[in-house]
């Protein structure tokens, strides 16, 4: 059974890059174009891991994490924050909201897979 990834990012380019890398690596790839759509898609997709951007319209990445971890959805799956923000307080905020880890843009395939491996154990 393939590991299911839900990627939430408003940039088509980033979604394409994620899709190419993850599908090549054998993951099952799902995507959403902003935070609101991502949270709405979560129950239907039932992913094994979520990758979310921070800066997004409608609902930002912190909001996504808070809603997924909130009592309503109560998600326990790993959530990786995908961001160009390298500031420490950004990491701290994401972690405080319940993020599992982070991937810094620009990412290469190896570091993406490595990050996924550390939170899901899966390589595919």
């Amino acid at each position: 059974m393939k590991t299911k990834v839900l990627a939430i990012d408003d940039s088509r380019t980033i979604r394409n890059l994620l899709a190419a890398c993850l599908e090549e690596a054998g993951f099952e790839y799902h995507s959403a174009v902003d935070g609101r759509e991502g949270v709405d898609a979560y129950p239907g997709v039932a992913p094994d891991v979520v990758i979310t951007d921070i800066n997004m319209p409608n609902l930002d990445g912190f909001g996504v994490i808070e809603e997924l971890r909130g009592t309503h959805i109560n998600s326990k799956v790993p959530i990786l924050v995908l961001t160009t923000e390298s500031a420490a307080d950004m990491k701290a905020r994401a972690r405080a909201a319940g993020a599992t880890g982070w991937i810094t843009k620009p990412f290469d395939d190896e570091s993406l897979i490595f990050a996924l491996k550390r939170v899901t154990g899966a390589v595919a």
Binding site: D10, T13, E28, Y29, P78, T84, A87, R95, A99, E110
Partner: protein, 726 residues
């Protein structure tokens, strides 16, 4: 694969740049909504993110500076004043240039680049400036020294998760699994802290681990595995040889929590195979890849006088959720359009064949044929709608042209756009960019006066150029209207005479003088800057528009300004036409141009002078324009009385009666361009293929009327005869 992702990156950049420009324009207008600032920030941010992925360093670096400034605006550290807004506009234009250079190759103006970086730098605090892409944590995992050169080392790792770690979704098991990739791993779990079952508390942690990893990888590779849990666990990594380093690491990592030493250990074997996670098949499939939602549709234009309530509604509907869209290659749509064109020709042929049948009762067949025609038309309209796009992006680009032209000429001009939501065929939009650029540059350069002159004339200091798009009875009208000085007709006339374009002994009326601008070889560049001149005249504008089956009109009032109108057909592929015969030739007149048709009789015709005739209709007189003689197919003096008159209305509202021999039919025709066959023929806009397989010219009533009323300027006869003959 990477190539196509890069293509979509550049496509996305276009959209982001548009969004950025729109946002900046709104900010300039005084939009205070934080979401507007956020949207611009996100656009720059996304460009940077994508550019980083493709190693477009120059673009990344510039976007970063831009973004940093905007981030300060976003967090209210910086106030937006007109000076900063102007800088942001320039930065946005430059960012657009950088994207273009990254896509098409080429270099941006290095000096300009530096100037902008410096200007942006002035708004950036020193300390913020530093970081661009600092690798997060210990990211350089997969960059170790060559393995063969490094001996295997045994590391002792002590790992004690804090309860906070589990709130973040990190699992020790996966970390160990990642470690096992680095070398031979032994895992011992310490469960000595486990209390009795009754005393266990939910969310507390009781377990810790001691691991031994024999690996040739450096310590940083091990640290990278624990990157996400740094600060959420107690961790020590030591080798036999570096007790001191171990102490340091412990001190550093555990300062906040204090070190607990693990005394009792029990060895537990942990299987490192991946267990099958339980999953249900998701209902969505790989199609997800091509189905994407895009930003909500372009907002309809908002007049400045629109009540606040309405605009609030508009923004509400905007956030109500994006419409699902499907991205397809343009080629596929064009194939469909071609097929529809063939279908329509096919229908015509079928209709002709049936008409020729020697059958008694064809009513049923004709009914079905009519249904066929309706369906074909529906398909055609549907396909054309796919190609239709709002002119908004085009108009937004034009704002930049006006900004640049204003800066280059030292004038102040503001572009106001109206009707941005008007949809036009994609090709038309693409090919309109150059003519519009030219007209707008001209408007700033030649139309708008200098600020001093404007004030002297009692006008506001800043000139206004109004760019309007609207649908008008089957065509699209794009208008550039400036409030400048108007055309200097005397000068234009003199230049045309000097250049030998018109004889100096002929009186020209205002409209004719205005049209001199479109003559090849006419250029007023001698007088003014090199901005709009550049050795290209308005004839290029006219040719570009004519190639699209459209035309350009000029209206100008001295002291009040000029208006350039570009009138284009809605579609480039199919149109409704009236099939007529002219001097033995079958021709097509666009239905949209025809107001009325009537059979003529001698009572209605009045002679006016030697070679002009007027048609008397319901008490008014309308000039008659004989199509055959105007096209040079028949000598004007020896013509017979025409059979039918087509009343057409020109753009400026004047009516004329086109005299043709007969009307045969009214049908959809497929437009085939004459480009490359016989060039630009006055009076003829294109050709088509009729049901019987014959080729027929599609007439351009406007230019026929113009040509026949100002025969002095345009000598069309011979060229037309040649065209028909070939």
């Amino acid at each position: 694969m990477t190539g196509s992702i890069m293509d979509t990156f550049f496509e996305e950049c276009e959209e982001l740049l548009e969004a950025m420009d729109a946002g900046l324009a709104a900010i300039e207008e005084g939009d205070q909504d934080p979401e507007t600032v956020n949207a611009v920030f996100r656009a720059v941010h996304s460009i940077k993110g994508g550019a980083g992925a493709f190693g477009l360093d120059e673009l990344v670096a510039f976007a970063h500076n831009f973004e940093t400034v905007f981030d300060d605006v976003r967090s209210n550290k910086l106030q937006l004043d007109p000076k900063l807004v102007q800088l942001l506009f320039r930065a946005s234009d430059h960012l657009s240039d950088l994207v273009t250079c990254a896509r098409d190759g080429g270099q941006v103006d290095a000096d300009h680049h530096k100037v902008l970086i410096t200007a942006l730098g002035e708004y950036i605090d020193e300390e913020e400036e530093e970081v661009v892409f600092e690798p997060m944590g210990m990211g350089a995992v997969f960059d170790p020294a060559p393995i063969s050169a490094v001996e295997e080392v045994s590391y002792d790792i002590r790992f004690l998760p804090l309860k906070e770690m589990f709130a973040t979704g990190n699992e020790p098991y996966f970390l160990f699994q990642a470690l096992s990739d680095l070398g031979a791993l032994t895992v011992r779990m310490d469960d000595s802290e486990l209390p009795g079952f009754d005393a266990m508390e939910e969310g507390e942690t009781y377990l810790s681990w001691e691991l031994t990893l024999i690996t040739s990888q450096p310590r940083s590779a091990i640290e990278a595995v624990f990157e996400f849990v740094e600060g959420l666990c107690e961790l020590s990594i030591s080798t036999d040889g570096d007790a001191a380093a171990e102490a340091d690491a412990l001190a550093a990592l555990n300062a906040a929590f204090g070190v607990t030493s693990v005394e009792e250990e029990s060895a537990v074997d942990i299987p490192l195979e991946q267990p099958e996670p339980e999953q249900v098949e998701s209902p969505t499939s790989a199609e997800v890849d091509i189905i994407e939602t895009v930003e909500p549709e372009a907002e309809p234009e908002q007049g400045t006088d629109m009540p606040a309530e309405t605009s609030k509604d508009a923004s509400k509907s905007k956030s109500s959720g994006p419409k699902p869209t499907l991205r397809v290659e343009l080629d596929r749509v064009d194939r469909l359009i071609n097929a529809v064109g063939e279908l329509i020709i096919n229908h015509s042929m079928l209709a002709q064949q049936i008409a020729n049948l020697d059958a008694t009762d064809l009513r049923d067949v004709e009914t079905e044929l009519e249904g066929f025609k309706t369906l074909a038309r529906d398909i055609q309209e549907g396909v054309m709608a796919i190609r239709a796009q709002p002119v908004k992006p085009l108009f937004q680009r034009m704002a930049r042209i006006v900004r640049e032209a204003s800066a280059a000429t030292g004038k102040t001009a503001k572009l106001v756009t109206v009707g941005e939501a008007t949809e036009v065929d994609k090709t038309v939009i693409e090919r309109l960019a150059d003519p519009l650029t030219h007209i707008l540059r001209n408007a700033v350069d030649h139309g708008i006066e200098s600020p001093e002159d404007r004030l002297a004339a009692g006008k506001s200091k800043a000139g206004e150029i109004r760019l309007t798009a609207a649908h008008r009875s089957g065509s699209v009208c794009i208008e550039v209207k400036d409030d400048g000085a108007g055309l200097n007709r005397k000068k234009i006339h003199q230049i045309a005479i000097d250049k030998g374009l018109v004889p100096d002994n002929i009186e020209l009326n205002d409209g004719e003088i205005d049209n001199l601008l479109f003559l090849p070889g006419f250029s007023t560049a001698s007088e003014i800057s090199n901005l709009s001149g550049r050795g290209v005249g308005m004839d290029v504008v006219k040719n570009a528009v004519t190639a699209l089956g459209g035309r350009v009109n000029i209206a100008s009032t001295p002291g009040k300004g000029s208006t350039f109108s570009i009138i284009l057909p809605l579609t480039l592929a199919v149109m409704d036409g009236m099939v007529v015969s002219v001097a033995g030739h079958t021709m097509v007149v666009p239905i949209t141009a025809i107001v009325e048709t009537m059979r003529g009789n001698d009572d209605m015709i009045n002679n006016l002078g030697a070679d002009s005739t007027l048609l008397s209709i319901r008490g008014s007189f309308i000039p008659i324009c004989d199509v055959a003689s105007s096209l040079g197919l028949r000598d004007g003096s020896s013509r017979e009385p025409a059979g039918v008159y087509l009343l057409v209305e020109t753009e400026n509202g004047d009516r004329s009666a086109l005299a043709v021999d007969d009307i045969h039919d009214q049908r959809q025709v497929v437009i085939k361009s004459l480009d490359g066959v016989c060039g630009n023929v006055p009076g003829v806009s294109a050709a088509t293929i009729l049901g019987d397989g014959k080729i027929a010219m599609i007439l351009d009533p406007e230019s026929i009327v113009t040509a026949s009323s100002s025969a002095a300027v345009f000598d069309t006869d011979r060229r037309m005869s040649n065209a028909i003959a070939s």
